[in-house]
């Protein structure tokens, strides 16, 4: 199934598993589109971060590799972008605006309420604040 109405979509990824699952899910779904995989380095905005910036940039590059490995065929172009911001959801929306993305695409992470509480539930904030379509894809199960 391809969804050819999109020319540019933004795909936020957060962890290695996420990158793999999302890579599978978006494969050959966006024909001829530009897929921008984005990782947000969360900043404390004036206090030392828990993990160094360089460390998370390296981490992000690893995620992009995983994403590309899992992304199969299709005529889509993949681009990567590391973004920085104190609020992950807000930063994603800013990047989407900057890249003129028509949609933000992600696969639900299946996190427990407890973890969402600890990490601030980016997905919910994104849904509440979004100014453009957000496409939620199912996990690929027929491997």
């Amino acid at each position: 199934m391809t969804d050819s109405t999109y020319r540019t979509v933004l795909v936020p990824i957060a962890s290695d598993e996420d990158a793999a699952v999302t890579g599978d899910a978006v494969s050959s779904r966006f024909d001829e589109a530009t897929i921008i995989a984005v990782y947000v380095v969360e900043k404390a905005g004036g206090a030392p971060d828990t993990a160094g910036v360089e460390q998370r940039e390296e981490f992000a590059r690893g995620l992009f590799e995983t994403f590309e490995r899992h992304f199969r065929d299709g005529n889509a172009t993949i681009r990567n972008r590391i973004a920085y911001g104190t609020n992950v959801a807000k930063t994603l929306l800013e990047v989407a605006a900057d890249e003129d993305a028509e949609a933000i695409v992600f696969v639900p992470r299946g996190e427990s309420r407890w973890r969402q509480l600890l990490t601030g539930d980016v997905a919910r904030k994104l849904l509440n604040q979004t100014d453009r379509p957000v496409l939620i894809l199912p996990r690929e199960t027929d491997e």
């Binding site: 404390a44 004036g46 206090a47 030392p48 910036v53 600890l118």
Partner: protein
Amino acid sequence: MSDEELAKDLGLISALAVGIGTMVGAGIFVLPGVAAAEAGPAVVLSFLIGGCIAMVNAFSVSELGTAMPKAGGAYYYINRGLGPLFGSISGMGDWMGLAFASAFYCIGFGGYLTTLLSGVVVPLPVVGTVDLLPSIVLGPLVLSDIQMGALLAGIVFVGVNYIGAKETGGVQTAIVTLLLGILTIFAIVGFFSFDWGTVTADGLTPEGTTAILPGTALVFVSYLGYAKIATIGEELKNPGRNLPIAIIGSVAIVMVIYSILVGLMVGIIPYDSISESTPMSDVAEIIFEGNLGVIGVTSITLAALLATASSANASILASARINFAMGRDKIVTDWLNEIHPTFATPYRSIALTGLMILFFIAALGSDLEVLAKAASVLHLVVYALINVALVVFREADVPEYDPDFTVPFYPITPILGFGLSLGLIYFMDTIEIALGLSFVVGAIVWYGVYARDKTDREGALSNYILSRSDELPDAAVSAANVASPSGESQYKVVVPVSNPRTESDLLSLASVFAKANDGIVQAVHIVEVPDQTPLSEGSEHMRQIDTESQQLMERVRESTDTMDVPVDVRTIVSHRAFEEVFDVARREKADKVVMGWGPGRPWSAGRAERPLDELAHDLPCDFLVFHDRGLETDRVLVPTAGGPDSDLSAEVARYLRDQLGSEITLLYAVDGDDEAAAGERFLTEWGAEHGLEDAAIRIDTSGDVEGAIEGAAREHSLIIMGATERGLLSRLVRGSIAYDVVHDVECSVLMAERPTSRSVRERLFGLRRDE
């Protein structure tokens, strides 16, 4: 705001807050009691002397920090400067030092927590009532209520960092401002309770003047915060300006605070009766008596909790940064530096550091002094090494070393810093020195057993010694050799670039080779300047060249598809571009050099001064010379007649096929049709031997090698040609290349030359010198 500005979001105030917040917790809230008992009222001098030692080192840290604003701070500088052996010592030393310091801060926190909660009991069924912070006896291990409080605090601090609970910039600065506010009120109110008679009751130095320096050894832990600013140097805005101001400024500010407050304390309570675990609360009880009462005491106690907590917190963060920097150099395993998938924190590093902190609290927490001094010993060893690294960077003429801030009175300042740091260790007790040194020895063993085989990072010092092995004493050279890392060094493709605007193709090509070997590309912009232009380091002219070049190279790097291969960019200014190509290859221990050939490149003009044969007959590594007519790699022609250089052509062809999906055609020229079958057999075998079974085979029977290549070239986009005899490069330089074909064909040509076995052997055994 640009990404750069967003990534670097620590301004001067935040950086100062980190420095002050880390330091103030220990010095003023925990140590005055113990230290005053040891040194008498002259303990103020102990604090001042400690501050001066910290200040001298702060200058050195500032210079190195502005030259390399990188995660890891001291470890990073020492590893770059003195190599991975000392890097291991400083990394482990800093890490353990921070763990000791954190344990110490937690104990301080525990003391105040106990004060706050003393008498609070928890009713439990069956048992009756239990203190909220009970003492526990576990076999030989006795945990006091303070230790229990400290353990609790440690678990919370580590947990918070493990989860990465969000701390916003405002909070950190607000805490420090609040602290400074409370301390100011404390000082003003305290001034009225100050009595000079209390200070001089037993004379200023009742414990003797000889007690002052041991006092300094004890309180030095109060100054360990400034170097934390350096470990987060990568996140600082405008580090060239803010880093030195924050480091030197925070030392100066806490020095003043310590002196005033400790001075007041010994004038309020006799030096030998100040509480050893919660001095500030005790003093607060006296000075606030009658005016602010409970509020004053409670706010001081809360301030103490905040201060010790922020010290512990900053130390745990800093140790994760050091772990990361060590992991990047492969001195510790990458496993330790994994990022948590949900929390985005270096959770393993934090957990391990946390376990050590808890262990130190439980095992050594009953003696505050041991924790404080062990932390100081380890940090002092690191500070001593920092000063040595600074001198090495200055003296070894490291081209990349360009600090914005330079220490005054060089070389006196670093020498002084080195001497004072080691000197202060002398005033520690045997147990702390032994504890500290056992970690140093542990680090050396760790380097020998584990890291030496993994890391490939050499320091400026060993490069300096090994590159001058003729002039320096044998002992130094062999010592440098022994300490050198033996790790499999990374595959490196060096690209000498003359004009960054036109060399994008070269960079792409180099990336293909690097990618195939999991290696890196090092693009070196060689700027040739006339002999009259001096190459003096740091002159305005050189700096200008350097800045322009960096900008150009950065642009090329961005516009080139380098397949996610790490591309390192640097600039070299030289009088002799051609020689420089070889020097760079040798210095960088390149595996391959990919260079362009043709007009516009200084080396194409061939103004080499040294005998050409010496240069080009003795290649330091594989050389690939690209005659650029556009990089199209879809149809690649490999003419071959066997031989070592065609091995290299085959290798390159394989990379192009594997990485870019190029179609390969092998070409072999024979005399007449009757040899065609034999030719085909040869090519099939050759292809199989070189992993090119899938390549198309083309036999030319005209007997005219050059004609054959020219003919086949029309259907191909790139020709890879091995040098059939030695000295391809030297003939290129002389302009007497036998292959007119290079000029006649219309597609790009990549010429490959592999060093002769003779020069490889010579390279290995270092016999190359003075031929």
